[in-house]
């Protein structure tokens, strides 16, 4: 058994005096998909943000790829190239076209050459069905298209881990499927290690290797595979699934 790619150990997170995450523990192996479920306000986004340094945590430890996370800004800057994150609000840079959005990280952060990166980016754009949009500006794209570009922008850095925070939550229903398919494809054909927060239960059930159910900042259930969806143990989880029409 190899060591896990990500190991979160007794993590505690406060916003000022408010205790947000309580004793969060889990491991994620390379190639696995972990879905993080829970009602709104349970701390899912906060946990994800702690995993790439957008929020500091106060106690506990994170080990990523054998490296102890020190929370120093310089180290986070390094680690973020290996831990991609995609947000609900896409947040493409509005003043840069699609290609410039995607190339910024590989060229400026990783100092790779344009010639080396371009074929990879082209391929990624094709994979997400956006090959014709390299020169488009974000304002010319629909929400679903922007989100696909945001995913490519993160993937272009060749991360070892991807964090997805409700990436379909602000999309029109017909666009949700496209974006979910891309994530599914990443899991299936690329064996990308992923931590996914989603309210799409069918999708979650399909892709999960592991489920964490979070409520009030505590992990209430931690189960492998599809077990969570078939036999939720706690009443909170049962209510949650019922509220999701699942």
């Amino acid at each position: 058994m190899s060591t896990p790619l990500l190991h979160v150990n007794h993590l505690e997170k406060y916003y000022q005096k408010t205790h947000i995450l309580h004793d969060v523990n889990f491991e994620l192996n390379t190639g696995e998909v972990l879905t993080l479920l829970g009602p709104s306000g349970s701390g899912k986004s906060t946990l994800l943000r702690c995993l790439n340094g957008l929020e500091a945590y106060q106690q506990g430890s994170i080990t990523f790829d054998g490296q102890a996370v020190t929370q120093k800004p310089k180290q986070w800057q390094q680690l973020r190239q290996q831990i991609g994150m995609v947000f609900q609000s896409y947040d493409l840079f509005p003043n840069r076209n699609v290609l410039e959005n995607i190339l910024l990280g590989p060229l400026k952060v990783q100092k790779r050459t344009r010639a080396a990166v371009l074929p990879e980016v082209q391929q990624l754009l094709e994979q997400v069905g956006m090959a014709d949009y390299a020169n488009a500006y974000p304002r010319q794209l629909s929400g679903g298209q922007k989100q696909r570009i945001a995913i490519v922008r993160a993937l272009a850095l060749k991360p070892k881990l991807m964090l997805f925070d409700e990436v379909t939550a602000s999309l029109d229903p017909e666009m949700v499927r496209d974006v979910l398919n891309i994530i599914r494809q990443l899991a299936d054909s690329h064996a990308m290690t992923m931590l996914v927060v989603t309210h799409e239960m069918d999708f979650a059930k399909q892709i999960s290797d592991q489920v964490l159910f979070l409520a009030d900042g505590r992990i209430r259930e931690q189960t492998p595979g599809k077990q969570f969806f078939e036999q939720p143990q706690t009443e909170r989880a049962q209510n949650f699934l019922a509220s999701m029409d699942f």
């Binding site: 990280g105 400026k108 993160a154």
Partner: protein
């Protein structure tokens, strides 16, 4: 003599004043933009030592009248051994005042960038400096254009105060002529028209630029 003849006779003098106003305003505004952008970057990066100095400067510059600043430059500084011509005093005064307003304008723009844009930049591994270069500057400058435009108009109007140190710009020209010939109404009409000729087209151009930059940067 008819009013029209009075006005016509004064036009050559007003024309001189017009170009002096334009020249001093242009130099002062350019300098103010340079000073303001440097100050605002110092504030953005919270550079030690310099940051408190900038705060002191902007507070003094924004909270004292240009009139008094000019008196200092024109009457007090020569006693300290720094002698400037009236025009130089005017330009320096405008830069001193305008730099603080421009700094506030830029800073407002930088602060107007949404935190999610900054996080998106961080998430792809940009360093603090790269974040400033690729996210904060382009978007912040675009956001500060409306404030800069307002400051430009404001500073052009402030040049009328140069009259107190006898710079022969537009207002000074008018006051001089009134003092000599007492055709108050005629000269004031010319004065107002002259400022309007500068300010109205400029203000239209700036509004157009604001829209262009806004669309080019943010797409709305």
């Amino acid at each position: 003599m008819s009013s029209w003849a009075i006005i016509q006779q004064s036009l050559p003098l007003f024309q001189k004043g017009f170009f002096i106003t334009l020249k001093l305003a242009a130099l002062g505004i350019l300098g103010a933009i340079v000073v303001g952008s440097i100050c605002s970057l110092i504030q953005y990066f919270k550079l030690p030592l310099l940051n408190p100095l900038v705060t002191i400067y902007t507070e003094i510059a924004r909270n004292t009248p240009l009139l008094i600043q000019l008196f200092f430059l024109y009457y007090a500084f020569p006693q300290l051994g720094l002698r400037l011509t009236a025009s130089q005093c005017g330009i320096v005064g405008l830069i001193f005042l305008g730099g603080s307003y421009m700094a506030a304008g830029f800073t407002g723009g930088f602060e107007g960038i949404s935190s999610s844009q900054l996080e998106a930049g961080q998430a792809i591994g940009l360093s603090r400096w790269q974040l400033a270069r690729y996210v904060v500057l382009p978007q912040g400058l675009a956001l500060s254009v409306p404030a800069l435009a307002a400051n430009i108009i404001f500073l052009i109007k402030e040049t009328s105060i140069f009259t107190v140190i006898a710079i022969p710009e537009l207002t000074n020209t008018a006051l001089d002529l009134i003092g000599m010939y007492y055709h108050t109404n005629e000269y004031l009409v010319v004065l107002v028209v002259a400022y309007a000729i500068i300010l109205i087209p400029l203000s239209l151009i700036l509004t157009y630029l604001e829209r262009r930059v806004r669309y080019g940067t943010f797409g709305n």
